[in-house]
């Protein structure tokens, strides 16, 4: 059978043992791996073959949690709670997204290693593992984005959230979205780095981590209700600024989550609420720090995994 001869048929015979084959094509190879990883993530994560599942995970979940919060607000706060509806809707919608990004990226590692058992084959290929993971993260985020948009739309239509498309601060929305997504991928990588090291059943770690972040980032209630040290943790988290920025861009003038009288932000910076520029700047700084730290942690974890032999470990082996 000639096919076994390999690429001879495609005209690169003689170059078969060409030493230049050990050299890659640099950026072109990276882009290629990245593209196919996004494609793979899209196929694996989107449940496209099952629109029902997609709806449950990406729309129904955030929507129902938003509804629960809206009802609670109504019960506890009375008519005054109404002003907080946009606040809650944006927070819930974005949160589903955070789960998709942060937990999702880490789950990719666990899934590839333990469910699909392909991690070692991806790893022995020349593709950069970090690039592949980020690609899959981007796909997850794409899927999550669809959920965010649908949740927001439903919130606006069904819950009468006052939304004026003419008042949206587009430049700010674009800036905080781009920076926010990068930060989510950074946090996801951080979790992935941790998950590479785990030996036992660790599917719940990423979700627990994301859950902890949920409390300190002002997703569903303003930071000011938390003790000051916890508020500081929130202020150091890029997600806090991303959520605040998105709220501000979509619903300018609505209640904020970061500052307020007596908040840690107010006592640190001397004015009660951050301006749009301050939000973007804070997001840029915290996001960069988190992303750089994540890459470093991931690389270290990668090296340690090779030293300790964790790449084809599976649960219970």
């Amino acid at each position: 059978m000639t096919a076994m001869a390999g690429p001879a048929a495609t005209g690169i015979d003689g170059a078969r043992f060409d030493p230049s084959r050990t050299e890659g094509r640099g950026l072109a190879d990276t882009l290629r791996s990245f593209k196919v990883a996004v494609l793979l993530g899209w196929k694996l994560e989107a449940n496209w073959t099952d629109p029902f599942l997609f709806f449950i995970y990406s729309v129904a979940k955030p929507l129902s949690s938003a509804l629960i919060l809206v009802v609670m607000l109504e019960v506890i706060g009375g008519p005054a709670g109404k002003a907080f509806r946009p606040f809650v809707i944006v927070g819930s919608a974005l949160w589903a997204f955070v789960l998709n990004g942060v937990a999702g990226l880490a789950w990719s590692v666990l899934e590839d290693r333990e469910r699909y058992r392909v991690l070692k084959y991806v790893y022995v290929s020349p593709a950069d593992f970090l690039t592949v993971l980020v690609g899959r993260g981007v796909a997850r985020i794409g899927v999550g984005l669809a959920g965010v948009v649908i949740t927001l739309m439903v919130g606006v239509i069904a819950l009468g959230v006052p939304f004026d498309i003419g008042r949206v601060d587009w430049p700010m929305l674009v800036a905080v979205s781009a920076l926010g997504l990068a930060s989510i991928i950074g946090l996801g990588l951080l979790m992935a780095g941790v998950c590479i090291q785990t030996r036992q059943e660790s599917w719940s770690y990423p979700e627990a981590f994301a859950g902890a972040l949920f409390l300190v980032t002002g997703a569903v209630f303003p930071l000011v209700v938390l003790p000051a040290p916890v508020q500081i943790v929130g202020l150091l988290t890029p997600l806090t600024w991303w959520i605040a920025g998105t709220r501000q861009a979509l619903f300018p003038g609505g209640p904020g989550s970061v500052g307020g009288p007596g908040s840690a932000f107010a006592s640190t910076f001397g004015h009660p609420d951050p301006s749009a520029g301050e939000i973007v700047l804070a997001l840029l700084v915290t996001g960069t720090v988190v992303t750089l730290a994540a890459v470093a942690v991931f690389r270290l974890s990668d090296r340690r995994a090779k030293r300790t032999g964790l790449y084809d470990r599976t649960t219970g082996s």
């Binding site: 059978m1 000639t2 096919a3 076994m4 001869a5 390999g6 690429p7 001879a8 048929a9 495609t10 078969r16 043992f17 030493p19 084959r21 050990t22 050299e23 890659g24 094509r25 072109a28 190879d29 290629r32 791996s33 593209k35 196919v36 494609l39 793979l40 196929k43 694996l44 073959t49 699909y116 058992r117 392909v118 070692k120 084959y121 991806v122 790893y123 022995v124 290929s125 020349p126 593709a127 592949v132 090779k306 030293r307 300790t308 032999g309 790449y311 084809d312």
Partner: protein, 342 residues
């Protein structure tokens, strides 16, 4: 192309564990020339997979150096990954939701093939390994044998200079295992210079495929050589199986001849009464003693109905070197039950 495909110098690998550290490799030195079909044989836990993991850049050695085509496994990992590939058996690997074609194409992209070139390569290999009918089928619906063929196709996508096969036929039925072996042989024969390192627990597989074999146990290489060389090591005498129409004086008479170490009736011979023949196992000091035996038999009026030299098998070699057969491999430390019996 470098003369050596694999060069391993003093490689040790120690795994840390809660109890005592586990020494998986205890000072391995190995050279595999380019183009060789090389086998690693050894009982469970001998360290075969560990050595493959080190050579495929999945694992770092604790000490010592290893290189593949002159590239150091620690420093030149990317280079090695471009010209090497690995296929392991006994596992179900693959993204179940993708089709066979999609799954393979994805890997061509990791190996830097252009999109269309990748599809062409995938289709060629799908054809070559005999998965044409399943090409659009979801990976999750493949049988174990089909999955392993897909896994082999994946391992050939980058046209590797060297292919590492870790028990590739594990869990396959006889026919599937044979067809996989044929594919491997065919692939290697298609281009001179292609190198294979195989681990297996099937003696016959190693004997059939490998030009040279290393027998490993407890992380050390106990013996290395061609299957014939290894067999010769355990065979210090010549052993023949001889069938006669009759034998006057019985086995003792033959045993007294010069150069004959022993002559015994072959097991099961007594029952074979209707054939009216005598089957003997003859152990001679060397092949040269056979002439005298034949002459003596003719003098006694015996006719030789059959004569066959018995060859030791790789399993004999294995048992002699490792000190235990494959059945009891891994139970070198007597467990509590064994102590209770003793």
């Amino acid at each position: 192309m470098p003369a050596l495909a694999i060069e391993v110098r003093g490689v040790r690998r120690v795994y840390s564990s809660k109890k005592a550290p586990i020494v998986a490799l205890d000072g391995i030195d190995l050279e595999v020339p380019t183009g060789e079909f090389f086998g690693l044989l050894g009982p469970n836990g001998a360290g075969k997979t560990t050595l493959i993991k080190i050579l495929t850049t999945l694992l770092s050695p604790s000490s010592g150096t290893a290189s593949v085509f002159g590239f150091d496994v620690e420093k030149d990992t990317k280079k090695i990954r471009r010209i090497m590939n690995m296929v392991a058996g006994g596992e179900q690997s693959g993204y179940g939701i993708l089709s066979v074609r999609e799954q393979l194409w994805m890997f061509t992209q990791f190996y830097g093939l252009a999109g269309a070139e990748g599809w062409r390569r995938v289709d060629e290999l799908i054809e070559a390994v005999g998965l044409a009918e399943q090409r659009l089928q979801r990976v999750s619906t493949l049988s174990t044998g089909q999955r392993q063929k897909m896994n082999l196709a994946r391992g050939l996508l980058n046209d590797p200079w060297i292919l590492f096969l870790d028990e590739p036929t594990l869990g396959l039925d006889v026919a599937a295992a044979r067809s996989l072996r044929e594919l491997i042989v065919e692939w290697r024969a298609a281009v001179p210079g292609r190198t294979i390192l195989l681990t297996t627990h099937y003696m016959a597989e190693a004997d059939e495929l490998c030009e040279r074999i290393a027998i490993v146990d407890h992380g050390r290489i106990l013996a290395i050589g061609s299957p014939d060389e290894l067999k010769r090591r355990v065979q210090r005498e010549s052993i023949f199986r001889i069938e006669l129409d009759r034998l006057e004086g019985g086995a003792q008479a033959l045993g007294r001849l010069p150069g004959v170490v022993s002559a015994t009736a072959a097991a099961g011979n007594e029952a074979d009464t209707d054939r009216q023949s005598v089957v003997m196992n003859l152990v001679l000091e060397d092949d040269g003693a056979l002439g005298r035996v034949v002459g003596d038999l003719a003098d006694r009026g015996s006719h030789i109905l059959g004569l066959r030299k018995s060859e030791p098998t790789l399993e004999d070699v294995f048992v002699e070197l490792v000190g235990r057969g494959f059945d009891e491999a891994g139970t070198d430390e007597p467990g509590p039950s064994a102590e209770a019996i003793a």
